[in-house]
């Protein structure tokens, strides 16, 4: 049952991805800018520019270029990066880890920040702690990530010996430490959503009949809150995180740049500015896939948390 559901969802991704491919391809090609001039500079003579265009197939009509891109895609070939002259897939593989690590740690931090705050707010609904919790994190929403990042670097990393001022370590412990501030930066941006969502669903859940039942059975307050309240309240928050993943990925682009992390986002920015079409196309596709897959994952997590959710 669950497996069939899974397969169906995967099948339905195909038209989504196809649509995405078309949009991505034509958008990047329609943005003004000529990769040959961008990469080779104004001094490059016309012959060199011509040879470049010939080599990368830019002399062919756009629809033909699209078809060959699609053809390559079907064979798992995302094309060759024009600025690095290596296969896009190879370029991207090396960049996956920092981004995934950043996403995971940001999600973790967001939950660590949200859980206690939301619980406090929900249990003290409409009283001072609730107001404080509802207002203060909203500030985080208004602060641009690049600014928060610089502040954290200036006031924390420069003062705390063991925290690096940006960069990605060579060993795993170093890398985890390197992720602390970037993770915090992203979490500060996303926590307002998760806190609010968790708070409101917690308030709703705590008024449900089964909570009254649990209390009537004489369960301790903490256990009621943990096993019956939070477990149910967290379900909508998982969805919120899933829906916001696109935004989260967008935020990591900026955060990776500020913290000099060699992730997918940093690569995307470089590729867009250099009009490295194959890399932009490949990355947009990967980001799109990531969003679709994480949403699927969110649904699966939701189903496993809530028996009422049917995977069909």
């Amino acid at each position: 049952m669950a497996l069939r559901y899974f397969l169906r969802r995967l099948l339905r991704m195909i038209p989504v991805i196809l649509g995405m491919t078309i949009i991505v391809f034509f958008m990047i090609h329609l943005v003004p800018g000529d990769p040959a001039r961008t990469l080779l500079g104004p001094r490059a003579p016309a012959e060199v520019i011509e040879a470049f265009n010939l080599r990368w197939g830019f002399d062919r009509p756009l629809h033909e270029q699209f078809l060959s891109f699609l053809g390559g895609l079907l064979q798992g070939d995302l094309g060759t990066s024009m600025s690095y002259n290596v296969p896009t897939t190879e370029l991207v593989t090396g960049r996956f880890t920092p981004t995934l690590l950043l996403l995971a740690i940001s999600g973790l931090f967001a939950m660590v920040i949200s859980l206690p705050l939301a619980v406090v707010a929900a249990l003290r609904e409409e009283r001072t702690p609730d107001h404080v919790v509802r207002v203060i994190p909203m500030v985080g929403l208004g602060l641009p990530a690049f600014w928060v990042g610089i502040l954290l670097l200036t006031f924390v990393a420069l003062r705390v010996e063991w925290l690096p001022v940006g960069g990605y370590g060579a060993t795993w412990p170093d890398r985890l430490i390197a992720m602390i501030l970037p993770g915090l930066t992203v979490a500060i941006g996303i926590a307002p959503f998760t806190i609010r969502s968790l708070r409101s669903s917690l308030i709703e859940v705590m008024e449900a009949d089964y909570i009254a039942t649990a209390r009537a059975k004489g369960l301790a307050g903490v256990r009621v809150l943990w096993a019956h309240g939070l477990r149910n309240a967290v379900i909508p928050t998982v969805t919120v995180l899933g829906v916001n993943l696109g935004w989260l990925v967008g935020n990591t682009l900026i955060v990776e740049k500020v913290f000099a992390l060699p992730g997918l986002g940093a690569l995307m920015i470089d590729a867009v500015l250099e009009r490295d079409f194959p890399v932009v196309q490949g990355l947009a596709l990967i980001f799109g896939l990531l969003v679709v897959l994480v949403n699927l994952l969110a649904d699966v997590v939701r189903a496993s948390l809530d028996p009422r959710v049917q995977l069909s």
């Binding site: 012959e47 060199v48 967008g250």
Partner: protein, 561 residues
């Protein structure tokens, strides 16, 4: 199902929107190509002298390691320390390890330390000196150059450099390198013996030695030391002070000491790691935090305050970058020299230099920067004068003014400069609207003449003005429609060609002085400012200097930690 689609669509559109924003905004740190890499192509005439003096002042006590390595430092016992790992933070990464494929400055400045050329730009940028060559002789007809190679130069694999390697390398550059066109005057290469190479050019070619100093003419072992080209450039072998160690794209590239280096005792540091730190502020913070020794592309507005911090030097090195106003002279009213002259009279370069460059760099009068040979300090420029501007405009086809669009790459420090000009032209009745563009796309736009007035400039690769001058003023030879202005003046073209074939220094200087004067009179390009290259480094870094074409020579740098 529909929810899924919505979510996916939301995600995708966010990503697209963000990429487009990134595309639209560009970034201060974003650099384009070798040529335009304005801020970072740098240099200094005075630097070697000053750094040498500085190190003499604060020489550390000789340490044991050094004493053992006898003969390595001729400066005496108080000379540079050996050892240490130098970290150089920059905003972007290498794109290749092949000098033939390299077109962009940051890649080139790393490759310069793996490969070297026969001739190199001097410290003050004023001349081209023998480097892997020891001497040269040019025939009377100016068409044959006999170059003697330096004795005792070995590649990093221990193989001695011979004329066969030189012939192979230069021929490869002509055939394959993106910048091989600079060497296109070469007709044949002969190797009479192991240490002599004869280059025959198809016509007398005065900038020849400067052209040989271009990175694309890097010397590598003949036949890639028996490897395929692909294998070779995965682990390249050169004569440079460092050899390739590791490259993690997007993160860092590291070179380590070449023990076979021909300059006795150099390099001083064990390794150099160039890290990619795209954000300007983060680069500076890394320097402050001791995570980097040298940071390049420091924003000009932050330079002075950074310099005041303890343990950090932040300054600029003279560079070859000149920015100017350029006109699409193929359309009205910019085909009218009176219009261009009126604009030139109205522009006040001093105000621009002070306001937009924060005192780093200066006003420009000539199209050739002061750090480049044949710069004429006496170029008769049109000095700022509103009365003359009005008089000039009154003689033009548009005496009451006009509206025009000013195309500018959205990148520091361009926009403030263009805004100042907008204000300076307003009293003439010239109504300027500013059109910003992603910096990387500026050239593809002007090369199809899709502009009226543009903000462009030039940074030199070689210490000879010909490459730039022919590109700017010779619509055919330069291959770029006179840098996309469409300017076509037979008198100018004649001068440009004379500059290429005149060997006598004084005569050549006169020709380039005439070219600079003619531009000042006709102003297809109105020079605005000369840009210097900003760097910041920690006090533990000694001996850093950068010449006007941006070469860093990190073999001269040592660490006092």
């Amino acid at each position: 199902m529909s929810l899924l689609r919505k979510k996916a669509a939301l995600g995708v559109s966010l990503i697209l929107v963000l990429s487009l924003i990134a595309a639209a905004c560009g970034d201060d740190a974003e650099e384009e190509t070798a040529t335009t890499a304005a801020a970072e192509v740098t240099t200094t005439a005075a630097a070697p002298a000053t750094t040498a003096a500085a190190s003499a002042d604060e020489e550390p006590a000789p340490d044991d390691d050094m004493a053992e390595d006898d003969g390595m430092m001729e400066e005496d016992a108080a000379g540079p320390k050996r050892g240490g790992d130098l970290i150089f933070a920059r905003h972007r990464d290498n794109t290749t390890l092949d000098p033939g494929a390299a077109v962009e400055t940051d890649t080139i400045y790393v490759l310069d330390h793996i490969f070297e050329t026969l001739f190199a730009t001097s410290a003050d940028g004023a001349s081209v000196d023998p480097w892997l060559a020891s001497e040269f002789e040019v025939s009377d007809d100016g068409k044959s150059w006999t170059v003697t190679l330096r004795e005792g130069v070995e590649f990093s694999n221990g193989q001695p450099m011979t004329s066969a390697d030189v012939k192979f390398s230069i021929q490869r550059a002509i055939d394959e390198a993106a910048f091989g066109f600079l060497l296109s005057a070469i007709e044949s290469i002969e190797t009479p013996d192991d240490m002599t190479v004869v280059f025959n050019t198809s016509f007398p070619w005065a900038p020849f030695l400067a052209d040989l100093s271009v990175w694309a003419a890097a010397i590598m072992p003949a036949d890639y030391a028996g490897m395929s080209a692909e294998e070779f450039f995965e682990n390249p072998i050169g004569t440079g002070p460092f050899l390739f160690d590791e490259w993690v794209p997007g993160e860092y590239i590291r070179l380590v000491r070449n023990d076979n280096y021909w300059q006795e005792g150099k390099p001083y540091v064990d390794s150099v790691t160039w890290t990619q730190v795209p954000d300007d502020n983060t680069r500076i913070l890394q320097l402050e935090g001791g995570q980097a020794h040298i940071a390049q592309n420091v924003p000009l507005n932050l330079l002075d305050s950074l310099n005041e911090k303890e343990g950090i030097t932040a300054t600029t090195f003279p560079a070859t970058t000149v920015y100017w106003v350029s006109f699409n002279t193929t359309i009205e009213p910019f085909n009218d020299r009176h219009v261009r002259r009126a604009i030139a009279y109205a522009i006040e370069q001093d105000a621009i230099a002070n306001a937009a460059l924060f005192g780093h760099g200066g006003p420009a009068c000539s199209v050739i920067s002061p750090a480049v040979p044949y710069h004429d300090p006496d170029t008769p420029c049109l000095e700022s004068n509103m009365d003359l501007a009005r008089a000039e405009l009154a003689q033009s086809s548009v005496p009451d003014g006009f509206s025009a669009e000013y195309l500018v790459g959205d990148q520091s420090p361009n926009l403030p400069i263009v805004e100042i000009i907008q204000g300076q032209l307003a009293p003439l009745g010239i109504d300027i609207s500013i059109r910003t563009i992603d910096p990387g796309q500026l050239y593809s736009t002007i090369f199809v003449f899709d502009y009226e007035i543009a903000f462009t400039g030039w940074t030199m690769d070689i210490p000879d003005p010909d490459q730039k001058i022919s590109f700017m003023f010779d619509p055919e030879l330069g291959g770029g429609d006179s840098y996309s202005t469409g300017y076509n003046n037979p008198e100018m073209i004649e001068l440009v060609r004379a500059g290429q074939t005149t060997f006598e220094n004084a005569d050549r200087a006169q020709i380039y002085a005439d070219i600079q004067a003619l531009n000042a009179e006709e102003v297809p390009f109105i020079p605005l400012v000369v840009l210097d290259a900003p760097f910041a480094w920690s006090d533990s870094v000694k001996g850093l200097w950068v010449n006007p074409v941006g070469k860093r020579h990190l073999e001269d740098v040592w660490l006092d930690e």
